[in-house]
């Protein structure tokens, strides 16, 4: 019997057929020709960071400058990258303490609730999100699939312990139903660009369409037999099939869904080390950058309109060796940050360094989008990037959880850059704000149906 190789071999086989151009850098040039034409669609990127920020070093002064945020607004040479003009920073957002009968702590409350707005629900005691996250609500509106990406490798916690499966993702398809992120950059690349593969010839695509038709028919028939019992499983399945079918139909039509460029693949991290994506942190910076670049290209190409990026597990324990820290962050650094001013200069410095890293990665994402001309503006002007955090401060403090909105300039968010400081605002307003900015009018979000958008927006 002909045997197929392990995953790595499959991925590499798929790559062989892909012509390549350099992966990094040419996004702006590649899309330069696509800038004209109809009004571009809106896009959305949600980013989830863990363990809070360093309060005294995060909130900016009148010039939008702070030790942490300066890394968002400057490039690697220290030059202004222009993002100050396209940012809205919301101060005062609080995440309510509400375990709702689960065994969740503040990490879980922020992680599972920030983008769902719903109360936690118990799965064998575990704290799971109580409804769809905002990206999935919008995806349903738009009838599109989302690209869920994450870098989860960790020396200290390579995989959630049993009972902590909910910490693998912040993206919820529905109550207690996670959408699990993709963690292998090369796998993401193959997923995005295999349609450029010559083996994806017309007959293959037609067969796929025929198979999907049969599968959909079988699903519908089974749903009829199942009735209301457990029907949600088939609903999720049907929704997932439609997303794949939509992409397939576009490929068959030879129009949308195919990227005008085939970038060179990212590093095959699993080939570099089979544990690269699980138990070692060596490759985290490179994997984060690869994921950011893939998300940028997917948004620019029209391969996706909604992307999510998760940087570590809920309550993550990265060591940040690449920032010269190399100490398990959650237990030995974040937990020690017991006041806004910091507990010690040494500990504060470590938190600032870690958060400057996060800020610089958001900058990488936003500047990549801002470099693409689109309809007289830039791709970033048509994209809302949300940089959220599960906590306000690392000692499980839920006040002043930082919110940074980037882009969508002139489409609900102003140019010029600003900090909104309108006192305490409930977490639900973030989801409500995102929904309204994404043309999904709603008076509230999650368990606060009338919370409204952020005051001062």
């Amino acid at each position: 019997m002909k045997s197929r190789g392990p995953r790595g071999a499959t991925r590499r086989n798929a790559l062989k057929a892909l012509a390549a151009i350099p992966f990094a850098g040419p996004l702006a040039r590649a899309f330069a020709a696509t800038g004209a034409g109809a009004a571009p669609p809106k896009r959305l990127v949600l980013v989830m960071q863990n363990n809070g920020t360093q309060q005294a070093n995060f909130w900016p002064d009148a010039k939008l400058s702070s030790p942490i945020l300066d890394s968002l607004f400057t490039d690697s040479t220290g030059a202004d990258n222009g993002l100050r003009q396209k940012v809205t920073i919301v101060k005062g957002m609080s995440i309510p303490f509400d375990a709702n009968g689960t065994n969740g702590n503040q990490h879980d409350m922020g992680f599972a609730r920030l983008y769902t707005g719903e109360k936690l629900i118990s799965m064998a005691g575990g704290p799971w999100g109580g409804g769809p996250s905002v990206d999935q609500i919008i995806a349903q509106d738009w009838g599109v699939d989302t690209l869920a990406l994450a870098v989860l490798a960790s020396d200290y916690e390579p995989y959630p312990k049993p009972g902590f499966e909910h910490r693998r993702s912040f993206v919820y398809l529905g109550p207690a139903q996670l959408k699990y992120p993709l963690i292998d950059p090369l796998g993401v690349y193959v997923k995005l660009f295999s349609s450029n593969d010559p083996i994806g010839a017309q007959q293959r695509l037609q067969r796929r369409q025929s198979v999907l038709d049969a599968v959909t028919g079988n699903l519908t028939e089974m749903a009829g037999r199942l009735g209301a019992d457990d029907g949600r499983k088939l609903d999720y399945h049907l929704t997932a099939i439609r997303a794949v079918e939509q992409r397939l139909a576009a490929m068959l039509a030879g129009s949308a869904g195919a990227c005008p460029l085939t970038p060179a693949p990212p590093t095959d991290f699993l080939a570099a080390d089979p544990q690269a994506e699980t138990t070692i942190e060596t490759y985290i910076p490179d994997m984060v950058d690869a994921m950011i670049d893939l998300a940028s290209i997917a948004l620019g190409c029209g391969l996706s309109r909604i992307a999510t990026l998760q940087l570590g597990y809920c309550g993550g324990k990265w060591g940040f060796a690449w920032e010269g820290i190399n100490i398990q962050f959650h237990d030995y650094i974040a937990h020690q940050d017991t006041s806004d001013q910091g507990s010690s200069p040494e500990n504060t410095d470590r938190i600032v360094r870690a958060n400057r890293y996060y800020a610089s990665r958001i900058a990488r994402l936003a500047t990549a989008l801002d470099a693409v001309d689109e309809a007289g503006g830039t791709l970033l002007d048509n994209t809302l990037v949300v940089w959220g955090n599960e906590l306000g401060r690392g000692d499980h403090n839920q006040s002043n959880a930082p919110v940074v909105l980037l882009g969508l300039t002139g489409q609900g968010l102003p140019t010029g850059g600003r900090v909104i400081d309108a006192g305490e605002q409930v977490m639900n307003r973030l989801g409500c704000t995102v929904l309204n900015l994404m043309d999904h009018p709603t008076p509230g979000f999650g368990d606060v149906p009338d919370c409204g958008v952020f005051t001062g927006l």
Binding site: M1, K2, S3, P6, T10, N103, N105, M123, A124, G125, G126, D155, Y156, E157, P158, Y159, K161, P162, G163, F164, E165, L173, A176, Q177, L178, K179, Y180, L182, R207, S210, V211, A214, V215, N218, L219, E221, M222, R225, L226, G227, A228, D229, D230, K233, L234, Y236, H237, T239, A240, A243, V244, P274, Q275, T278, T279, K317, D331, H335, D395, H396
Partner: protein, 550 residues
Amino acid sequence: MKCFLFRLRQVGLGAAAALVLSTLACQPPPDSVASGSSALQAPRRLRRLSNREYNNVVRDLLGDTTAPATAFIPDALVTGYDNGPDDLIVQSDQVEAYRGAAEALAETVVAAHPDVLVGGCDPATRGNEACITAFLGSFAPRAFRRPLTATEHNRLRTVIDAFAADGDVWLGIQTALEAILQSPQFLYREELGEPIGPGIARLTPYEIASEISFLITGSMPDDALWRAVQDGRFITTDDFRREAARLLATPAASANLRTFFHEWLATNRLVPTMTVKSAAVYPTWDPALMTSMAGELDRLYDEVAFGDSGSLRALFTTPDAFVDPALASLYGVSPPASGFMKVALDPTTRRGVLSRAGYLTVHADSDSSGPVARGVFTMAAILCYRPLPRPAVVPPPPSVDDANKAGQTTRQRFSQHSSDPNCSPCHKVIDGIGFGFESFDGMGGYRTTENGQQIDASGVLMGSGDPNIDGPFDGVSGLVDHLMQGDRLSGCFARQMFRFGTGAIETSADEPFVASLGKDFTVDSRMTDLLLALVSSPRFTDRILPEGGP
């Protein structure tokens, strides 16, 4: 809050601890049996094949041993058991993964051994129509694990006809196989049933056959079971028990129950992606050692589950071990030349599964023995203590480095747990158990001293709700003596079997059935008897019909 509960950096809690882990603190006994419920509380449902089951099914259906689901998104297992638990669904990335696997599998099987699909039919000699009939009439029902409806049959026939161009039927069959492998009838186990009375449905013989087969072998019904259903010899509860007993004697059952034991005791985490050790603390640690440890436990679980007694007592007290050269060195016994050899360990130090290197390695921190982890797991998974919320913020304990510099033992490192009244109410219970494991370091090595001090492995079991097992003990062997008393261990095991057997966490309505399952089950009963009791119960075979019918 100054105490430092749960520094569970790398503790590897197991299946049952899926229910509790982060939260387990104090120690009230589990609820007594809920009242006023019937055993008939299971809803109709679908159970998506877990990735492990998917691999098993394509092996048994197509002869494919490449385990394609290894590349799928890892399953989240709310029950802790990898056998199609309730919560598994399909997201878009999984649709694409199923498609990729289906295309590769179909291409391979058509090219390499198409007989599997058409029962040896050769289109050149018998004609396309005969081979299509064989495919749709024999193969497809095995894949769907029941006869096809007329609509399903016609749908697949349409696919075949669309691509069986130029007289070559194989591309049509290959495409139809792709459709089968992506269809819900293949990807889910149906628990829909037929009405047998007001509000009650009974699973069809085909559905019960699937449930029993997946429960015991982790895969689709074998030929004998399939024939029994087709021939009408699979109708009564006696039939179900008979087939279940037959399947228990197959190698597939050994492999499947091995998985159960690994998941129950969390030793499935003996893989580099889930368990790491500090090179500074354990310079002799080699991740490859986990292969030896898992190999030992594979053999131990097999021997215990299918040996003469097949009891919990055997699992928790046996001195027998299976060692390869690496483990022999760790245990201090004579090594075999190669492979594994059965040896008897000193029962005063290495008594039963709780004293085995693999168990002790996953139930430890990456840089220490992890008494908190060991205590929590014993409570959660082995004794089924009911969890309580943990404190909000848990400062970490002193680092291992600091403790070593101070010449402290691990017990001393956690001394604040007993001296701080904020910690002690819960930690006297958790650590009371965990300290009993202190004769073993974080990779399962036996020790009598730590940092120059004598090891103190005295412990105390308290708050179990069973005065027969509460009390002080010395070391793992002493703890095991307590576990062998009373019915806490056997009752907890029956609860774990319920979760494994039903793919669901018990609800309050299930409690009477869980209690009845454990009623006559003791630490000396044959563990697999619980499976036979389960498959012949209404909880397993019957379902509630929604009002107004399905």
